[in-house]
């Protein structure tokens, strides 16, 4: 039983008297999910729908004090949507969602995120059209008799923090619907797992639990207790987070399960899916999510994609909060916060609160200089890391490559060149760049030297002026330098990672700067598609051909007495055998056809070899 503390700690960290806290009811948290509306009264005052019973008690106290303030707590509007989580009686209140974090002890330190949860459609920062779309969908499903629509599933996708859940909750409350929510249950901890297996309970994976849930929804719908008044209210099922899947098998299960859901569910169901950024696209899981989306759509689900929230709406929301909190934050600062948030309103609000915290600590006189600083920083916003808050700005690799290749230069601010202390010959001077230093851009794009060089080599010729042969040479020679640098440490026995890092970044910067320096007569910017390096493909086919040759050699096709070098085979044996076509057959009859026309044949070879790996290659582009 000594293990118990670990669990309790991980689940509830501000509970002091946790020793008598029996965690056994956390075993199947999702059972609590569907439950008896009677317990509703208990959770009514919970400021956040998914809170722990003990916390909700505390919040009750805190919220009563916050009542005295001008604005009532949003959670307090006793909207049905706040009761989306109805707790099971016998297990006590739901133990499942722990989205609440510390900060409930004193009311002025409440999370603004929760405090300013949108409670009406007007307050939503999401684009109106999208909201309308979702709302209309709900209205159609709820108001019209059930069998008129064959699909009852709505799929909402979008980046984190664009207000997917908020929209659904707000609309539901607007329509007076009750939300039944599936949330991915808290993960089972190892000790917990051991404990439950000792207690004789079978372990259910999250996917199992989800399947059970879907099965129930599908077969029985929701069976409301007829005693309560909610019977007349419409229901909405909200699946906020699909269980994380790992591997083909569980992916198949999840997909089947969702397909069934889409086909047979009779209650309006909303599935929320979070799009992860491009940078994550490499891993297998996110690929699965994309596939799931398309398969859901195929099955008949209606999809609404949420875009990142626009800067203006964020600014609007933030200034509303400022007004209500009576903050002294300038419009400029709000602007900066909105810009750095990258369309993530959750992030923006947290930043605001954090920022507020900071300026609280400082005396007012300093505050003035501070804000001055910030406004100065606005000019350099592109720097990406100028702010005390906000996330680092990232660029996609293609964005960065575009910057390098287009090579935009300032043409107006010429005099500033003369300020340079070093006087360069005319040949070597270039107009100032219209961008950050290339190294910084590289850093933002997380560019590695090798792929950067490959991409530049593949694409740079498109961006050169038609007549500028000298430029092309300069560029090519710098790329050749970069390649040489990249290999210079290969084969060193004891790998020196530090040196390697330096070489890598040097090579990247040589490649990038070389391309920018060399391109003296950049074309006026027009639309260019950036191609994936053909070189990679060539290397693959080369490798395959080599293997094939080695294979042939071992059948002694070329020389029965000794082994020939591969290069000799390619240079001498193959062409000669081609000429001796008729006699080839007796040497290696299976390959007669492909020896036929060499160059032509290899064209096909290349194309053929591309087809099967096309998918992989496309993905490669995506994750760069």
């Amino acid at each position: 039983m000594g293990k118990r503390t670990a669990i309790v700690l991980s689940s509830d960290d501000d509970d002091d008297n946790d020793n008598d806290f029996d965690f056994d009811f956390s075993v199947k948290p999702d059972l609590n999910r569907f439950n008896n509306p009677k317990s509703k009264s208990k959770s009514k005052s919970a400021s956040v729908p998914r809170s722990n019973p003990k916390r909700s008690k505390k919040t009750r106290i805190s919220s009563s004090s916050s009542n005295s303030r001008s604005r009532s707590h949003p959670g307090k509007n006793v909207n049905p949507f706040d009761e989306m989580k109805l707790f099971c009686e016998d297990f006590g209140e739901g133990f499942s969602g722990f989205k609440v974090s510390a900060g409930y002890r004193r009311d002025n330190k409440e999370l603004w995120l929760d405090k300013y949860k949108p409670c009406s459609l007007v307050e939503l920062a999401v684009h109106k059209k999208k909201v309308e779309e979702v709302k209309v969908w709900f209205e159609e499903r709820i108001c019209i008799t059930k069998d008129e629509y064959c699909n009852h599933v709505l799929l909402i996708t979008g980046q984190p923090g664009v207000g997917k859940s908020a929209t659904v909750h707000t609309i539901a409350s607007h329509l007076g619907a009750i939300i039944y929510e599936w949330n991915t249950p808290t993960p089972t901890i190892w000790q917990e797992h051991i404990h439950t297996t000792n207690a004789g309970l079978r372990y259910l994976s999250k996917l199992d639990e989800f399947e059970n849930f879907v099965e129930r929804i599908r077969k029985y719908g929701l069976i409301p207790s007829s005693l309560t008044e909610e019977v007349r209210k419409p229901f909405i099922v909200l699946i906020d987070d699909l269980p994380v899947i790992n591997g083909k098998l569980s992916y198949g299960r999840l997909q089947r399960c969702l397909d069934l859901l889409v086909q047979s569910v009779r209650i309006p169901t909303v599935i929320l899916m979070t799009d992860y950024g491009r940078s994550d696209a490499a891993d297998y899981a996110s690929k699965c999510w994309e596939e799931l989306q398309t398969s859901l759509q195929k099955a008949g689900a209606c999809k609404v994609a949420f875009n990142p929230i626009t800067g203006n709406s964020i600014v609007k929301t933030l200034s509303r909060i400022c007004r209500e909190e009576k903050l002294k934050i300038t419009a400029d600062q709000i602007d900066v916060i909105a810009k750095t948030s990258g369309g993530d309103i959750r992030h923006a609000i947290t930043s605001l609160q954090y920022f507020n915290l900071k300026s609280d600590l400082k005396p007012i006189s300093k505050d003035a200089t501070y804000s001055g600083k910030v406004s100065h920083k606005i000019d350099h916003l592109d720097d990406g890391y100028s702010l005390p808050f906000g996330r680092d700005e990232t660029l996609s690799l293609f964005h960065a490559l575009g910057k390098f290749l287009h090579n935009k230069r300032d043409t107006e601010n010429l005099p500033s060149c003369d300020m340079d202390s070093v006087f360069l010959k005319e040949d070597f001077t270039r107009l100032p760049m219209k961008m950050d230093t290339p190294e910084r851009v590289l850093g933002q794009a997380h560019g590695q030297a090798r792929p950067i060089a490959d991409f530049l080599q593949e694409n740079v010729l498109d961006f050169l002026h038609e007549e500028a042969m000298d430029d092309a040479w300069v560029v090519a020679s710098y790329l050749s330098d970069a390649d040489t640098l990249l290999t210079s440490l290969n084969g060193v026995l004891s790998r020196n990672y530090e040196a390697e890092n330096i070489i890598q970044s040097t090579a990247a910067s040589v490649a990038v700067r070389g391309v920018m320096f060399g391109n003296r007569h950049p074309l006026s910017s027009r639309w260019h598609a950036i191609r994936r390096p053909l070189l990679w493909q060539v290397e693959q086919s080369l490798w395959r051909n080599k293997k094939e040759m080695v294979g042939e050699r071992s059948i002694a096709a070329y020389n029965c007495v000794n082994l020939s070098e591969l290069s000799t085979i390619a240079i001498e044996w193959r062409p000669a055998l081609k000429w001796l076509g008729s006699r080839v057959s007796e040497y290696n009859s299976p390959r007669k056809g492909s020896i036929g026309g060499k160059m032509v044949d290899n064209n096909c070879n290349m194309e053929r070899s591309n087809e099967p790996c096309d998918d992989d290659e496309d993905d490669e582009i995506e994750d760069w």
Binding site: H465, T484, T487, S554, E565, S567, N603, M606
Partner: protein
């Protein structure tokens, strides 16, 4: 059987081209124990032929009964085991392999195979020749580490095995290895020697050779005997009886490179450079070594070039050839050379014709 194999001299006595070398080898083997040997010379000069004949001289006809097999090697390298697959060609007395096929893991191959050979040392009834011969091809393509480990294993197991190393350029073999071997330089055969061989084959095949025909083939062959015989046979297939003005067709990749060269001469622009790159890729995909591509390209370009520019162009070709060896992706460097050439040539055209 191809003529190249059919008329390959089987014994050291029958060697036509490097008969002096052959005689010395014979003396070496018959009179005393054979040291490690390093054969080096350009392709098509007869290194392999000499090695095969030498093995026969040492072990008798048994050395000719070879079998080709794909062997799997499991090498225990500290914390992990490396599995490698390699084609070997072996008789009871010798093993031949191309360790550079194993790529960057070549050093494991070298160590492991020599060790294994040393273990299964054949015991002769007479107590003589209790060693095996290991023929390693393309030693110059071995990595530096592999050459180092080759050196150590050479010393350690020298009692039980002899190494015959074979490569194109001895300069890429480390001094340490070179000094432990008897170096045999095999020159490319002279054109008249090639002519002699071709005439010999022609006589054996009962062919009528018009005068000067063999000389033309020899000239086209770039002093590679193998190539000369191959193209001789090709001509035979294409047209017989031979005529004096019969075209001796170049290899298809050579034709392709001369096409590239004329592309380059016709237009000098980034766009053209891009097209050239596509063609170069095609050559590379077909395993034509980039060095050969660059060399041939230079040759073709020089043919059409004003003599004034030749010096500069050669300089840059050499420069980028060096770069290519230092670097990893050959296309970067070949392309840089083509770009440089285009830029030089364009400048020249503008200067001369305005």
């Amino acid at each position: 059987m191809l003529w190249v194999d059919k008329y390959r001299p089987k014994t050291l006595d029958k060697v036509l081209v490097h008969d002096d070398v052959a005689q010395n080898l014979k003396k070496l083997v018959t009179e005393q124990d054979c040291p490690h040997l390093l054969f080096y010379g350009p392709p098509g000069s007869g290194k392999k032929t000499l090695i095969m004949a030498l093995l026969r001289q040492m072990f008798g006809p048994g050395a000719e009964k070879v079998k080709v097999e794909n062997k799997n090697w499991k090498v225990d390298a500290g914390s992990r085991t490396i599995e490698l697959e390699l084609t070997t060609l072996s008789s009871t007395h010798h093993v031949e392999l191309n360790p550079s096929d194993a790529g960057f893991q070549d050093r494991y191959i070298v160590q492991e195979i020599i060790k294994e050979m040393a273990k299964n040392r054949p015991i002769d009834t007479k107590g003589k020749k209790g060693f095996k011969v290991l023929v390693l091809n393309e030693v110059d393509k071995l990595s530096r580490e592999a050459q180092h480990s080759l050196r150590r294993t050479m010393e350690k197991y020298s009692a039980s095995c002899r190494l015959i190393l074979c490569c194109n350029s001895s300069s890429k073999v480390t001094e340490a290895v070179r000094s432990r071997c008897l170096n045999m330089r095999i020159n490319a055969p002279k054109e008249d020697q090639i002519v002699k061989v071709l005439e010999f084959i022609g006589k054996k095949e009962g062919l009528q050779l018009p005068p000067g025909f063999a000389a033309r083939i020899a000239e086209k062959s770039g002093r590679s005997l193998r190539r000369a015989i191959l193209s001789f046979e090709t001509c035979r297939v294409q047209q017989y009886p031979f005529t004096n003005n019969q075209v001796i067709s170049p290899m298809d990749w050579e034709e392709y490179i001369s096409e590239i060269a004329s592309d380059i001469m016709k237009e000098q622009s980034p766009k053209r450079l891009f097209q050239v790159r596509g063609k170069l890729y095609e050559l590379l995909v077909n395993c034509i070594p980039p060095e050969v591509v660059l060399k041939r390209l230079l040759y073709e370009l020089l043919k059409k070039l004003d003599s004034e520019l030749k010096h500069e162009v050669c300089h840059w070709a050499a420069y980028y050839e060096h770069r290519m060896r230092l670097g990893q992706k050959a296309i970067f460097h070949i392309e840089a050379f083509v770009a440089k050439f285009m830029s030089i040539y364009k400048g020249f055209l503008i200067a001369t014709f305005g």
